[in-house]
Assembly symmetry: C2
Homo-oligomer: 196 residues x 2
């Protein structure tokens, strides 16, 4: 299948991660990267723990950014933020016009997700958003023994795979996500912590 766009080494990527669940308002951090090498900007916003506002907050953060016109891909660290606040990646792609890639460190356990979501408001809507992200493929980045799993919206599967591999320069996850995680945990917890 033909690529939808040319993937440059320095493709501009916004990686987004959330911070620890220590209050009802959860900070999310965006790390704007050139490829897998160079941090070019940092942005921050807040979502509600276990809320339903994550998609709108991210759309607003992206569209309000001075980097909006440059961001070629949005990368999410999983499909739920701040507990079980689900991100609708199809709507995120449609409303920003930017392709979205979800990167997961392990294959999600949907049985567990369904059980957890049952105890929250609007469980069907949450599951609808989660399943809307579509199928999952495995991508080997730095290390064959430590693959990641991805979903995508508004981008060809092979382009998504290429971008994830290209930007995972320091670990098995794209550098923008690794750094967004370091910043989010460092700021909220006082010092950054690892993630498996």
């Amino acid at each position: 299948m033909k690529s939808r766009f040319h993937i440059k080494q320095e493709i501009r990527v916004l990686g987004i991660d959330d911070s620890a669940l220590i209050s009802d308002t959860i900070m999310i951090v965006g790390a704007f990267f050139r490829g897998g090498d160079w941090l070019d900007g940092v942005m921050r916003s807040e979502i509600t723990r276990d809320g339903m506002d994550g998609t709108d907050v991210i759309i607003h953060m992206v569209k309000a950014s001075k980097h909006y016109g440059q961001i070629r891909v949005i990368m999410l660290d999983g499909i739920t933020y701040g507990g079980f606040n689900p991100i609708d990646i199809v709507r995120l792609n449609e409303e920003t016009g930017i392709p979205v890639i979800v990167v997961m460190r392990s294959c999600p356990d949907f049985e567990k997700i369904e059980a957890a979501v049952k105890h929250l408001s609007q469980p069907e809507e949450r599951l609808r958003i989660i399943y809307r992200a579509g199928r999952i493929i495995k991508v080997v980045t730095k290390d064959a023994s430590n693959p990641v799993y991805i979903q995508w919206a508004g981008i060809d599967k092979n382009d998504a795979r290429k971008i994830v591999k290209l930007t995972a320069t320091r670990s098995n996850v794209p550098e923008s996500i690794r750094v967004a995680h370091l910043i989010a945990t460092g700021i909220i917890c006082g010092e950054s912590r690892g993630k498996v």
Copy 2:
């Protein structure tokens, strides 16, 4: 003069910057880097705007860090943080055992500093700390038309110069300081801003 230590490409550096002056408590951010390339950790602490607690807060943040044993150099973005909270680099070096380098984007104007400090508590003590940082040299990093100015404590002048040049990989300032600045302004202001 003989180098005090071997300077590796991936020398571990902690760069510290402060955030905008939007309240009486100012967030400072430490970006722990491998050389000029790789962010390995983020830490955060708070100082008082125009206070006198900056040195103690930084000493505590550094010694409490899980990276403490690895940090080979502390880099400061100027000698005052959070307004005119002066950092005693001699004491910071002595109490942490880690060399300190101050990096400035322009040569400080001591006449202006003395005038500003006069309106604060303990003006003599503030000036004593500021002058204790010793002499200033110019270092050309990426671009001859955009040099930086440095002061140092607990390290040989030539080693300090070498480390600043080695770690200024993306701009005229060491990468750890550039990134600490992006994080501090991004988190406090919602989106990072440049600095001249």
